[in-house]
């Protein structure tokens, strides 16, 4: 079954500044980005508990859309590989009077086998 969450928030900055902040997530993401986010690239994140997890950036439309997939494993705080639910995150930026509306969706694909 696919589970999905959606969120929407208005940010007090133009889309260009929001985009820059998306590509430099260490300050707000709750994890340190060990690699730069690039189009089609992989980036590792280190979480406060010492675990690490990787994304692949698969959608890139500067100032408008960024999407990435979480890989279905992590390296936990003791260095062991563990499986994690794979999921895809899509972020869209929409200019608004107050700045930018950020639309976010994360979809898990834990139990589905694609046809």
């Amino acid at each position: 079954m696919d589970d999905r969450i959606r969120r929407r928030i208005e940010l007090p900055a133009p889309a260009e500044r929001v985009w820059e902040a998306l590509l430099r997530p260490s300050g707000w993401f709750g994890a340190e980005a060990l690699d730069e986010l690039t189009e089609g690239g992989r980036a590792r994140f280190r979480f406060p508990d010492g675990s690490e997890r990787e994304i692949v950036v698969d959608g890139w439309d500067p100032h408008r859309r960024l999407s990435f997939r979480w890989m279905p494993f992590e390296i936990d705080s003791s260095g062991r590989h563990r499986t994690r639910t794979p999921s895809r995150v899509s972020i869209e930026l929409e200019p608004s009077d107050g700045g930018t509306i950020l639309h976010l969706e994360e979809v898990s694909s834990s139990a589905r086998v694609s046809a």
Binding site: I5, R6, I9, A13, W28, G30, L102, L104, S110
Partner: protein, 107 residues
């Protein structure tokens, strides 16, 4: 879930409509009984009763905004019981708030 009485939680989740109510709250982050009811084939009154049961089980909490009460999931028991949606929703709530703070500070 050591130290917590899980009986009321699983009883609250045993009802398929209540699980759907939880999914809708998780999907939106925060929502009202009216919004939940509009997507389901149950009355707003029925949704309000489900929300009351979920509140008593410690799974949701509401805050009054004007004439409405807006409900959100409370972490802890739901994280163990429903897992992914609560975890990921809570993570993004924190991230987006931090992002807004960062952009408000002008950094």
């Amino acid at each position: 879930m050591s130290g917590r009485d899980v009986g009321p939680i699983f009883e609250a989740l045993a009802d398929a409509t209540r699980r759907e109510v939880i999914r809708r709250i998780a999907d939106r982050g925060e929502t009202t009984a009216t919004e939940i009811a509009s997507g389901l084939e149950v009355t707003r009154q029925a949704v309000a009763k489900h929300l009351s049961a979920l509140g008593q089980a410690g799974l949701v909490a509401g805050r009054r905004e004007g004439r409405e009460v807006r409900y959100h999931l409370t972490p802890g028991p739901l994280t163990e019981a429903m897992g992914w949606m609560a975890d990921v929703g809570a993570a993004w709530d924190a991230r987006l708030e931090a992002l807004r703070s960062q952009l408000t500070d002008g950094s």
